[in-house]
């Protein structure tokens, strides 16, 4: 690889090629790309490439670019310096005191890098040469949307159920008995009563007409029954069974069944 006889001036064709390359310097993707292009001029398998000759070609290229005052990016110059060093290592007898890698090792690695880059270029071309979607083969023209159906289901355990029931029953047990319930008409009672009656309340009727029998004379019982019936009426209005109105403050409150719409 480091045959000193190869260190002859590059021939005219090489020079011309180098000039063509210089004109095109912007087209190179870095020094490795340039080296790969130069290596093609050797017209040999990359594995048999003369790195020394390649280093020479590269340095000639850089010199030529300088002559033509073409500005080269820094990495091209760094590569030139490294190749100059590599060239001297390949040409000079190895220095026994030097523990660094030999020129041959460095040259072999450069050859490997070039071969690898070249291989990547080739497979990239093969890849792009494959049948491609949307150009050579095609997907379904009318894909159907997969509907996402979200179904919500509820669950409860027997324990939840029993706790729920226990909660209600416990509440019952603690219902305060301090009031005289005989003279209290509860909202529940009123509701029950009203529910049975509202079906027949087609026209506006005053609230007092709904008070149960026997609850219309004693004032405290009238109060209790009226309050309960009124509360029950509101509940039924809320449920949409009943309509309620009062023409002015303190005027009689009137009820009727909500007309069916």
């Amino acid at each position: 690889m480091s045959d000193p006889f190869e260190d002859a001036p590059p021939d005219v064709a090489d020079r011309l090629a180098a000039e063509a390359l210089i004109v095109d310097v912007d087209g190179f993707e870095g020094p490795l790309d340039l080296l790969l292009t130069l290596s093609r001029t050797q017209k040999v398998d990359l594995r048999k490439i003369s790195v020394l000759a390649l280093a020479r070609q590269y340095l000639a290229f850089i010199d030529r670019a300088k002559e033509l005052r073409i500005e080269l990016a820094a990495d091209y110059l760094v590569m030139a310096a490294w190749l100059a060093f590599l060239k001297s290592r390949l040409l000079l007898p190895p220095d026994p005191a030097d523990e660094g890698p030999s020129g041959e090792e460095l040259a072999a690695h450069l050859a490997f890098q070039l071969e690898r880059l070249n291989a990547m270029r080739e497979v990239a071309a093969r890849l792009m040469g494959r049948d491609q979607m949307g150009r050579d083969f095609f997907v379904r023209g009318v894909p159907e949307r997969v509907e996402r159906v979200r179904r919500v289901t509820y669950t409860a355990t027997l324990l939840d159920l029993m706790q729920g029931y226990a909660r209600i029953r416990t509440r019952d047990e603690f219902r305060p008995f301090t009031m005289d319930r005989d003279r209290v008409f509860t909202m529940e009672q009123a509701l029950d009563r009203m529910r049975g009656m509202i079906g027949f309340a087609g026209s506006w009727t005053t609230l007092s007409a709904y008070l149960p029998d026997g609850w219309t004379t004693e004032p405290d019982m009238v109060r209790s029954a009226t309050a309960a019936t009124f509360a029950a009426s509101l509940q039924l209005v809320k449920e949409g069974h009943l309509e309620i109105r009062q023409s002015e403050t303190f005027a009689p409150i009137e009820l009727r069944r909500k007309p069916k719409t």
Binding site: E147, Y154, M162, I168, L191, G196
Partner: protein, 219 residues
Amino acid sequence: MNEPLEDSLFEAPPAAEQERMVEAILFASAEPVSVADMNARMPHGCDASIAVRAVQKRYEGRGVAVVRVGEAWAIRTAPDLGFLMQKETVEVRKLSRAAIETLAIIAYHQPVTRAEIEEIRGVSVSRGTVDQLLELEWIRFGRRRMTPGRPVTFVVTESFLDHFGLESARDLPGLQELRAAGLLESRPAPDAEAEEGSEDDQQDGLFDAEEDVIDDSDD
């Protein structure tokens, strides 16, 4: 890629090849394709009207079907496989407290009217709660109560028993058992303790009543 096109200038492709073409065109097109359109796209000498019928036959009974849409043709999913185009995700949620209580009342007191449920719970029962329980198929309508207004009653269903692992609604633990299980934590007020016996009687009464009721609802 253009070879088949050039061959065709001399000779129409074989029928099997024409069928492949129709298949590919119908597959890739966003809209139904007319025979004229297929012919225009296929090499000269092809007859898409024959090819498409052959393709239609080939797909008979398959997962997709070649169907005629007006003057054009298309590939569509077989109607019986529409369910595959849905991805069902099931979300399980805890039943609300109101719903659990309502359900418990129905289970313990069935058949029970809405007014009775409200009386026991002390608050009105929203329509949504009842609807939810009906939808879950945990309750259903029982017989109408033979009282003024003939209110409907609610009873629990087989699915309810299934879900809660019960043989019958009578297997639901009674108040005493609930208390024994620690579910009725708060003891009643001291003065109420004396009445405990009668309370249990009441409880028994409840179940007696239920037995009758269940018999009723079974017919």
